[in-house]
């Protein structure tokens, strides 16, 4: 079992419970032991528009706290993952900035050292668990389901600081989904943004972005839409009907977290994966047990 420190962020543990449930179900079964740590806070990334120093310090703080366990860190939320990665990028490179931030962290007896690697769900599954192990864990393959993958923005950009997958042609989710028996298909809108961060001040515009993407995916005959970030999923799943209204159309697209679909293929009961919490019409998906 590979141990990783589990850094849940804010939105997942307080609202997007299905993501956390499916992660906690699936990961141990593919050899990942999640280590929970007390004392985490928000990563600060949604506050970047307000005060970048706060963001940098909050991310560094959580990295420092996680590092203390001596394992690599797993941040399943793409927003958190980018914030933490950006903090690493600046602090690992600039000694004086690191020292500066550490003087603040000292107030809580924390020190950022940069000793742990950082993972997201996508690269944790693809690079650490590996596709071979996933194939072995499949019990109820997906039967050629036509899948639209949504990587989102923060997971794959900006590539300059190193991201879990390629910025222009990310394929790790596709590789995993193919191993599950699914049929992920390219679509031109694949890299379009969910609009999630605009919820802060322009919620209707955010819903327009969400609705526009879902409409296009629906038009192209996809069976399911898969994402791996609570901000994205909240838009596409929880707010699907609001989004549909905003763009003036009918949308009925099943939206699942990557880990939920993975769990279904592994034969895990849907209830354990939080599928009952999905607001989109996931009952359309005919695979796996109840």
């Amino acid at each position: 079992m590979t141990k990783v420190v589990f850094y849940p962020g804010c939105v997942m543990p307080t609202e997007q419970y299905a993501y956390e449930m499916s992660i906690r179900e699936v990961m141990p079964k593919v050899g990942i032991e999640l280590v929970d740590v007390k004392g985490f806070s928000c990563c600060g990334t949604p506050l970047k528009s307000v005060n970048q120093m706060v963001t940098l310090t909050l991310s560094a703080r959580n990295l420092a706290l996680a590092e203390q366990e001596g394992h690599d860190i797993f941040a399943p939320c793409s927003i958190c993952h980018l914030g933490l990665s950006e903090a690493k990028h600046v602090l690992d490179d600039d000694r004086s900035m690191k020292e500066r931030i550490n003087t603040f962290l000292a107030d809580e007896n924390l020190e950022y050292k940069g000793t742990s690697k950082l993972y997201h769900t996508v690269d944790l599954l693809h690079d650490v668990v590996t596709v071979d192990a996933i194939i072995k864990a499949v019990k109820t393959p997906l039967k050629d389901m036509k899948i639209a993958t949504h990587y989102g923005c923060h997971l794959i950009r900006p590539s300059e600081i190193g991201r879990p997958d390629d910025a222009e042609n990310p394929q790790k989710m596709e590789t995993i989904l193919k191993a599950l028996g699914g049929q992920p298909v390219y679509y031109p809108e694949k890299l379009d943004c969910c609009g999630g961060l605009l919820t802060a001040n322009l919620p209707e515009s955010a819903l327009t972005k969400t609705g526009q993407k879902l409409q296009r995916v629906q038009e192209q005959g996809f069976d399911v839409f898969v994402d791996a970030c609570p901000w994205c999923h909240r838009q596409f799943d929880a707010k699907q009907q609001q989004a549909a209204k905003t763009v003036g159309g009918e949308i009925a697209m099943p939206v699942l977290y990557l880990t939920q679909l993975l769990g279904i293929a592994m034969g895990i009961k849907k209830e354990k994966l939080g599928v009952q919490l999905n607001q989109s019409p996931v009952e359309k998906i005919q695979v796996g047990g109840t």
């Binding site: 849940p8 939105v11 543990p13 307080t14 609202e15 419970y17 956390e20 449930m21 906690r24 929970d36 740590v37 007390k38 004392g39 985490f40 806070s41 928000c42 600060g44 949604p46 506050l47 970047k48 528009s49 307000v50 005060n51 970048q52 120093m53 706060v54 310090t57 990028h89 600046v90 490179d93 600039d94 900035m97 603040f104 962290l105 107030d107 809580e108 923005c153 923060h154 950009r157 900006p158 590539s159 300059e160 910025a167 943004c193 609009g195 999630g196 961060l197 605009l198 802060a200 001040n201 322009l202 515009s205 955010a206 972005k209 929880a238 939080g274 009952q276 919490l277 999905n278 607001q279």
Partner: protein
């Protein structure tokens, strides 16, 4: 020797421009001076079609030192930080980062900021997270909270007052 903006009578603010550039450098971003206005960023901007944000224009105004015009506008708050501009720019300029800098300047000047940001900041200061545990509805209309789902205790700052103090100190730090 003088350069006067006859269109909007804006004043060039060399010191603010310098401040933004220093901040970009500190955070390891490329200088905006290298932009040659190819507008690839705007062509691919997720916020352009819907909200008319023009990242290349933000950079052009920055180069010209016309910062106030941007700080006083609503347009800078339309960026969705999708990072496509930074990813695709052939000169490695990052309009998204310039926009963060501008937004930070608005906040630092005490002006009112749009939307939920203030509420989010408040929440982080008090409980360490953007929001507290919420009730959600299942497909068959049951309401559940975190504790009902067999999930372990929520991870929050152990000593909220220490955390708050540290946060308040940083809030006044310049980059």
């Amino acid at each position: 020797m003088s350069i006067v903006d006859l269109t909007s009578m804006g004043e060039q603010q060399k010191d603010l421009k310098k401040e933004i550039h220093e901040r970009l450098e500190k955070l390891k971003d490329e200088s905006a001076e290298y932009c040659y206005q190819c507008a690839k960023c705007t062509s691919g901007c997720e916020a352009h079609k819907l909200l008319e944000l023009e990242p290349h224009e933000i950079i052009a105004l920055l180069k010209r030192g016309l910062i106030d015009e941007m700080i006083n506008s609503d347009i800078i708050w339309t960026c969705m930080s999708c990072f496509k501009c930074r990813e695709r720019c052939p000169q490695k300029v990052a309009p998204v980062e310039v926009l963060f800098a501008l937004k930070n300047m608005v906040v630092a000047s005490g002006k009112q900021i749009p939307g939920n940001y203030t509420a989010w900041l408040q929440s982080v200061l008090t409980i360490g997270l953007l929001q507290d545990v919420k009730e959600v509805t299942t497909k068959d209309n049951k309401t559940v909270k975190r504790a009902d789902l067999g999930l372990p205790e929520l991870s929050k700052p152990v000593d909220p007052s220490k955390f708050q103090m540290m946060l308040s100190k940083i809030a006044v730090e310049k980059v």
